[in-house]
């Protein structure tokens, strides 16, 4: 879109001949798209290891999508450590049903906690590698846009020198 306009003015500034229609009819007409605030802006290029994705997904839920899943600051802060109760020795006679049911409950809770932690770490890892890729692409986009702006400003400046303000 920008190139179209710029090449016209470039021609003008470089020679005196001007063709009223762009000679290259194959340039597509780009209608300027509305700027979505950060919502969805980026180019797709990420192919993560499917195993990693599965390991990052809640079983029974949908597959983990690193693009959508943002981690807020509080989620990322180092986990607060709970003081662990001291191990008290329990003689066999005291290990009644109540004891074992409590042990079972705690063992299950501990396993859930470990699994949840592992899942979260995997998710964060996948998301981090996705962000690395996305940031690189974004940096490229920024460079391109700076170039475009520079060219436009250059054209305007050169034009105004010759023909006065727009």
């Amino acid at each position: 879109m920008i190139n179209n306009i710029l090449s016209k003015y470039l021609l003008l500034l470089q020679n005196s001949v001007f063709s009223s229609e762009p000679t290259d009819k194959t340039t597509e007409r780009n209608t300027p798209s509305p700027i979505d605030p950060d919502a969805i802006e980026v180019d797709i290029n990420f192919q993560p290891d499917p195993t990693d994705l599965v390991l990052s997904s809640v079983p029974g839920g949908e597959l983990f999508n690193p693009r959508k899943h943002k981690f807020s600051d509080e989620e990322l802060k180092p986990q607060p450590m709970i003081k662990k109760a001291k191990k008290v020795f329990v003689p066999d006679e005291q290990k009644d049903d109540k004891y074992w049911s409590r042990r079972k409950k705690n063992n299950l809770a501990a396993k859930r906690s470990r699994d949840a932690r592992r899942l979260k770490e995997n998710q964060i890892t996948v998301r981090a590698s996705f962000l690395e890729r996305e940031n690189a692409a974004l940096r490229q986009q920024v460079a391109e846009l700076r170039k475009d702006c520079g060219r436009c400003k250059n054209i305007v400046a050169r034009y105004e020198v010759k023909y006065g303000p727009l």
């Binding site: 001007f18 180092p78 450590m81 436009c152």
Partner: protein, 124 residues
């Protein structure tokens, strides 16, 4: 995860195996136990450190990502603005007025009139 105060907890000891536990067995057992305790502690420490650095890196990446998106938005708006300035000027532009039609539509009057009866002339 609960991890606070098990730094040197050796209050729990399992009963010794066999009917004649020798003191050397006990000593070996205790030594092995202690070694394992330290190894487990080290392993847990490594795990937390790894997680902490991952979280820090992740936080930075999120911030950088947000900043880049913002920049892309600003630059796109600027580029669109500049482009629209040029676009809207174009129809009004005196400098861009076309040159004599000769350059664009070279005329061979005689040949035209011989071949065609009526020739529409496009003038701008």
């Amino acid at each position: 995860m609960a991890q606070g105060s098990d730094s040197n907890d050796t209050s729990y000891k399992s009963p010794s195996p066999g009917s004649r536990p020798s003191s050397s067995d006990d000593v070996k057992k205790v030594m092995r136990r202690e070694k394992n305790r330290i190894a487990a502690q080290k392993s847990r420490m490594r795990q937390t450190q790894k997680a902490d650095s991952l979280h820090l890196e992740s936080e930075n990446l999120e911030k950088e990502n947000a900043a880049l998106r913002k920049e892309v938005k600003q630059l796109t708006e600027e580029a669109n603005y500049l482009s629209s300035v040029l676009s809207s000027h174009e129809p009004l532009c005196t400098g861009l007025a076309p040159q004599t039609p000769d350059l664009l539509y070279p005329t061979h009057q005689s040949s035209y009139h011989r071949q065609h009866i009526s020739v529409p002339h496009y003038q701008r």
